[in-house]
């Protein structure tokens, strides 16, 4: 049975419908991310779960209880905001203690729990400091401890890493996941950063124009995008306009060659136009073990990105990208050289129209 269940949720602000028929079921202890561009409705869904917005239609259930109309302060939800939102008039310890005081915990319990939480976020030496005396990363850790202190049913994180610099973002991301695993708390994480969502989550919901385009594990989202939007939004993609040569045999034609589709072409007829795609890392300049197909191209440019080298190659008159590991002994073919690009048939993505 799902711990958090959103059924047919919609939300309109005036004539603007920002969330449309949104359904989601989250198991206890699961870490689910909402991923999407700005304005896709991900934060609105989170705010409805938190109780800061009321759905125009649909129901929200937490642990079997209908909380759709329950005020935010009665939901027992921990929330971490993008802007930290620590109370400036309170010290770190007082911030963490706030929820416990509101719940009416006794002094000994508050003191013990605050100590535990500060130890969990590794800031037990900064309990007496005020928020303005902390760095952004430290403030967000305190915000996390404050949200977790009253032992909430659900943890909601609204783009908690967006205001931090790259290095802190990665380390805090790992810490959030470790703490979530340790406490086993059901968590919803909102982000527009695909790397963040894919690296931290059990499952990812990719949102687009107020709807959930796809719900799946990070690998499913990346390797088998359900919609054209998901394919384009998550990761880099090389797309090719193709035509179905033989629908029954699963034969496609693009870039002047015939290929066999990795999955049956249901609902399509021979001659239909179709879009196919290949991830940059699915292509290689040298034939690998599983590669059974290839394209003809001409090297345009190379970008050295550290661990990865990105090549730009012209195929069928259009530039496409391919990524290779920066392995020792690898020599780049000169720019302008004709080359063969190898790939495995199973990496070919057939995008729905």
């Amino acid at each position: 049975m799902s711990f958090l269940a959103l059924a047919a949720i919609s939300k309109s602000f005036g004539p603007n419908q920002v969330v449309k028929d949104f359904n989601l079921s989250v198991g206890k202890g699961e870490f689910v991310s909402f991923l999407g561009p700005s304005g896709c409705g991900k934060t609105t869904v989170l705010r409805m779960v938190a109780g800061f917005e009321t759905p125009s239609a649909g129901t929200i259930r937490i642990d079997g209880q209908d909380v759709t109309r329950l005020p935010a302060n009665k939901r027992r939800i921990g929330m971490v905001f993008q802007a930290y939102a620590l109370f400036p008039n309170m010290s770190v310890s007082q911030n963490v203690a706030f929820g416990l005081k509101v719940a009416g915990a006794d002094r000994a319990t508050i003191s013990r729990r605050v100590g535990e939480m500060l130890e969990l976020i590794k800031l037990d030496h900064l309990g007496e400091r005020f928020p303005y005396q902390l760095s952004g990363g430290q403030q967000q850790r305190v915000a996390l401890a404050r949200a977790l202190a009253p032992k909430p049913n659900l943890l909601l994180l609204d783009e908690p890493l967006s205001a931090l610099d790259a290095q802190i973002r990665v380390s805090l991301r790992d810490d959030i996941r470790a703490i979530q695993r340790e406490l086993g708390i059901t968590t919803i994480f909102v982000t527009h950063d695909q790397e963040e969502a894919l690296s931290i989550s059990d499952r990812v919901v990719v949102m687009h124009q107020g709807r959930a385009d796809q719900l799946g594990t990070p690998a499913e989202i990346y390797n088998r995008p359900a919609t054209r939007f998901v394919a384009n939004f998550v990761g880099k993609l090389n797309t090719f306009e193709a035509r179905i040569a033989d629908a029954d045999e699963g034969q496609l034609n693009f870039a002047g060659k015939d290929f066999t589709a990795p999955t049956p072409l249901r609902g399509l007829r021979s001659g239909d136009p179709i879009t196919v795609a290949l991830r940059p890392e699915a292509l290689a300049l040298h034939r690998r073990h599983d590669d059974e197909a290839s394209l003809q191209g001409k090297v345009l440019d190379f970008n050295f990105l550290g661990s990865v080298i990105r090549a730009k190659v012209e195929v069928d008159g259009r530039p496409i990208c391919l990524d290779m590991f920066n392995q020792s002994g690898f020599t780049m073919p000169p720019v302008g050289t004709a080359t063969e690009l190898y790939f495995s048939r199973s990496d070919l993505l057939v995008l729905p129209e």
């Binding site: 027992r76 921990g78 939102a85 109370f87 400036p88 008039n89 929820g99 509101v102 130890e119 309990g127």
Partner: protein, 274 residues
């Protein structure tokens, strides 16, 4: 090479003289009550007057009541507008600056018409009623300053997100206001309060037309009857205003949670196992 900015310097010196010369002259004059020597006799004379003690007491109480009333009106309004009605903010701001546009005399005549004889609420017929109208008048006059101070204070701390954070931790709206909103806009309220106090203390038009025994009309009356005491009163009024400006600056520049005087703090939350 250091450039001497002649014109701005001249302007600054002239402005300083324009401000300081009358003040110094008034101060010097206030010390010359006794022929041939400088003394504080005029100040002594002012403090020995029973009327002075009465009017200053009345004005202080009326100003303090106006501060409390103003804070109770402005803080929840500014909070609610920022939280739930952001679109109404320009309108509220416009209303808050109306007292700067509408002369006080118009306000008092409005009071006299609405709350006069034969009105459903004849406040002008009793002493208490007149005092109530005076305090409300002070609240109205200080509204532009109080509202701006409090609204700026709220803008500085993103009050909407803090409210949501408090609510997600289980706090009721009342608890959020008392534990989060008020402490974080305290400096702003104090700044607004000092401005209200300064305005109310020296206010003349409303106080005089409502015939209240307050400091403003007293100063004018003294000016007609005596020579040195009004000068002493003017210097004292300046000194009080400056003290309040300094206090406002002091409270306004303090960070939330920062103490006035540093003190040793003992941790109330000890580490587990320590």
């Amino acid at each position: 090479m250091k450039t001497i900015r002649l014109f701005p310097t001249i302007i600054t010196v002239l402005a300083g003289l324009y401000f300081l010369v009358p003040l110094i002259a008034t101060f010097k004059f206030s010390l010359e009550m006794k022929r041939g020597e400088l003394s504080f006799a005029a100040y002594q004379s002012v403090f020995q007057s029973d009327t002075f003690v009465q009017v200053i007491g009345f004005s202080v109480v009326a100003s303090l009541v106006a501060i409390v009333l103003g804070a109770l009106l402005v803080v929840p309004t500014a909070y609610w507008v920022r939280l739930k009605l952001p679109k109404v903010r320009p309108f509220i701001e416009f209303v808050s600056i109306l007292p700067l546009v509408i002369p006080s005399v118009v306000l008092v005549f409005g009071y006299a018409r609405i709350y006069g004889t034969g009105s459903f609420l004849p406040l002008t017929m009793t002493e208490t009623g007149l005092n109530v109208l005076l305090v409300i008048g002070y609240v109205v006059l200080s509204l532009p300053y109080m509202y701006r101070a409090v609204d700026n204070g709220m803008a500085a701390i993103d009050i909407a997100t803090l409210t949501e954070a408090a609510e997600s931790l289980g706090a009721s709206r009342l608890r959020t206001i008392l534990a989060v909103v008020f402490p974080n806009v305290r400096s702003a309220i104090v700044s607004g309060a000092f401005l209200t106090f300064s305005i109310s203390l020296g206010e003349f038009v409303i106080t005089s037309l409502l015939n209240r025994p307050a400091f403003g009309p007293y100063m004018v009356q003294i000016g007609q009857d005596y020579a040195y005491q009004p000068a002493a009163l003017a210097v004292m009024a300046f000194a009080v205003t400056w003290v309040f400006m300094a206090l406002m600056e002091f409270f306004g520049s303090r960070r939330p949670g920062q103490r006035i005087f540093p003190r040793l703090r003992v941790s109330r939350f000890r580490r587990v196992g320590s």
